[in-house]
């Protein structure tokens, strides 16, 4: 992928495996992804496709002993952060890259007040006297639109709703002015009204701070709402990537086409379009294209040989042998 200006962060050949009883199972398979400054990129895919592990690999927050990066590089400002010492990596987390996860409740310490957790997040990046710390915490809470922040400072997480907890998590994540915020399914556990509030908040914060966003989601609605560019993952690989408008208008991979057809409204009483079958487990993955078993257009070559990445448009790439353009 060629960019007019150098990317903020760029993963090349990134591979991640999880440890299982039977040994190591590769989950993320040689992933290439770049994110420009201030850009919003979405990784979209179904459960088990490796999208969360890919994102966690980029910030080196894989669960210890359960998963590890097995290959590739992740360059931030041209420097491979996979080779940094843990101490250097810690300095970078929060300041350069921050993460918000799917379950805000589990991201907060139930035994610490909201204030104490915010102070901790702020202090990780700047040594501030107590009064300045409080001011900064209140400023962050106002930034994420927490009503009545003075009261909230002294409260514990259980007093707050899921939506409010997610706002606190976002406030902690942006405390160090990160240049990239990774949001792993940031609204999956939330109601549609609260989801709209959180998405609106992320859009505003992005405009105000100029940070880049990497959103991991299974929801094409969130993609349409947020992303400049989208990478569709299937069974560990990005099978299609491109500008969000182009992907919605002219998806090229049959899997992308199927997923998009599912997000569009089908007339009442008609059957919904289905993608038959399920995502193959690693052991059942065919030697060729991982989607071949579910694809109604699969050719012989699809089952035997993995397709190479092809450029099909401006910054639009796809891994599929099928050459015809079809509308979803």
């Amino acid at each position: 992928m060629t960019l007019a200006e150098p990317a903020l962060i760029e993963a090349r050949g990134l591979s991640t495996a999880v440890r299982t009883a039977a040994g190591e199972t590769p989950i993320v398979l040689s992933l290439d992804l770049s994110i420009g400054r201030g850009e919003t990129v979405a990784i979209v895919g179904e459960s088990g496709c490796g999208k969360s592990l890919a994102a966690l690999s980029m910030i080196r927050l894989l669960p210890k002993g359960q998963a590890r990066v097995t290959g590739g590089e992740v360059r931030l400002d041209g420097r491979d952060i996979l080779r940094l010492r843990e101490r250097e990596m810690n300095a970078l987390r929060g300041r350069d890259i921050a993460l918000i996860s799917q379950d805000p409740m589990s991201a907060l310490n139930p035994l610490m007040t909201i204030g104490a957790q915010l102070y901790e997040a702020i202090s990780a990046h700047a040594a501030l006297p107590r009064e300045a710390l409080r001011e900064r915490a209140l400023e962050l809470m106002r930034l994420v639109r927490i009503p009545d922040p003075e009261t909230r400072l002294g409260e514990y997480p259980h007093r707050l709703s899921g939506g409010m907890c997610q706002r606190i998590v976002i406030a902690m994540a942006i405390a160090g002015h990160p240049r990239l915020l990774i949001a792993d399914e940031p609204t999956t556990a939330l109601d549609v009204t609260i989801q709209a509030q959180v998405l609106q908040l992320l859009q505003r914060l992005k405009e105000e701070t100029g940070m880049a966003l990497l959103i991991v989601t299974h929801d094409f609605g969130v993609v349409a709402e947020m992303a400049d560019r989208v990478a569709v993952m299937y069974a560990g690989r990005i099978i299609e990537e491109g500008p969000v408008r182009e992907i919605f208008r002219a998806p090229r991979h049959p899997y992308t086409q199927g997923l998009l057809a599912l997000t569009r409204r089908a007339p009442a009483g008609e059957r919904l379009p289905e993608i038959p079958g399920v995502v193959p487990s690693y052991a059942d993955r065919p030697p060729g294209c991982a989607f071949a078993g579910r694809c109604d257009r699969a050719l012989d070559i699809c089952r035997t040989t993995a397709p190479a990445r092809r450029i099909v448009g401006r910054r639009h790439e796809v891994e599929c042998w099928f050459d015809g353009e079809a509308s979803a």
């Binding site: 179904e46 549609v192 009204t193 408008r245």
Partner: protein
């Protein structure tokens, strides 16, 4: 005649913090062979309503009639006779299955409880497996051998085993991946057509409800704020809450208006420990007026065909005549 008729239902659940007013005076009708979609934010009481209909939680006031029979206060014995008629499918069917029972045993359990012989049960379970699109060899396997979508099929097989008239589907596809979701929705549609069952389909996913529901009911804090037939509901929503809910759904097109430029409903569902005075939605309503804080609005027919509980929505015909027109609730209710 309606298959299910709920009248002025109240459900109050005692908790450590006080009494939760989960359902607060709710009327609901479901016709045979149709689907009523129930939407609203978490905590609005939609799941509790489903459980009350199944008599899994007690009702404090009001009545529930199933197939013409009053079931609100039936005793355990009489209730057992009703059970086959109304069943439930849960969001996470994996946890609803006993991990130590084979699929055959799990699906056959309601049949055995209803007095079926082992031989008849086995034949019926094999028939059910085929009906929901599971392989015949699923019979002797255990739940952990199945994916989320397959476990949902198992739950459906179990629910339809005794030919129920009504199934309460509580977020049946919310935990499933999009590609599998469509398979389960299509299966529910096929089964309804073939077996003439009714569904009360509880979901926060508006696009799924739009596809499956003949009528849509919007709940807020244990009350219905708007309901209407498919034809009018989506095209002419009138209640400020319904409009906000529909507007909050993320766009399915990158060129549509983004959240940042949309008026997004602020605040959250208030606590149901202490119910607000007047209209329950007043605290978050962008159009709130003094009268909204005084009296609770009743459901009334509005222009476009929906029933709406909002003081600000004029009655049908009011706009033309300039005076409120009293209309009896139509039988289509």
């Amino acid at each position: 005649m309606s298959l299910l008729s709920v009248k002025d239902l109240h459900v109050r659940l005692p908790t450590g913090q006080g009494v939760v007013h989960a359902v607060n005076g709710l009327d609901l009708e479901i016709e045979p062979g149709t689907t009523v979609g129930l939407i609203g934010e978490s905590g609005c009481g939609k799941s509790t309503l489903g459980k009350a209909i199944l008599r899994l939680v007690p009702s404090a006031e009001g009545s529930i009639e199933l197939d013409g029979e009053e079931i609100t206060h039936l005793g355990a014995e009489a209730l057992r006779a009703i059970r086959p008629k109304v069943q439930m499918i849960f969001q996470d069917n994996g946890s609803a299955l006993n991990p130590r029972h084979t699929i055959g045993k799990s699906i056959g359990q309601p049949l055995r409880l209803a007095g079926w012989s082992a031989k008849d049960t086995r034949r019926r379970v094999e028939e059910l497996l085929a009906l929901v699109g599971l392989p015949a060899d699923a019979y002797g396997r255990y739940p952990n051998a199945f994916s989320g979508g397959q476990r949902q099929r198992i739950g459906i097989a179990r629910a339809i085993a005794l030919n129920p008239r009504l199934i309460v589907c509580d977020e049946p596809v919310s935990a499933l991946d999009v590609s599998v979701r469509a398979q389960v929705i299509n299966l529910l549609g096929d089964l309804q057509r073939d077996l003439q069952m009714s569904y009360l389909f509880i979901s926060h996913d508006l696009s799924v409800v739009e596809h499956i529901a003949d009528r849509v009911v919007v709940m807020y804090l244990g009350r219905i704020v708007e309901q209407g037939a498919r034809e009018s509901f989506w095209s002419a929503p009138r209640h400020p809450y319904t409009r906000a809910l529909l507007a909050a759904a993320p766009a399915t097109d990158p060129d549509a208006t983004k959240a940042i430029d949309k008026p997004v409903l602020q605040g959250e569902l208030p606590s149901n420990l202490n119910l607000p005075q007047g209209c329950f939605f007043q605290g978050r309503c962008p159009l709130v007026e003094p009268r909204c804080r005084e009296a609770a609005p009743q459901l009334r027919p509005a222009e476009g065909g929906n029933l709406v509980a909002c003081h600000l929505v004029p009655d049908v015909g009011e706009a033309q005549t300039g005076a409120p027109v009293q209309l009896a609730l139509t039988e289509s209710l």
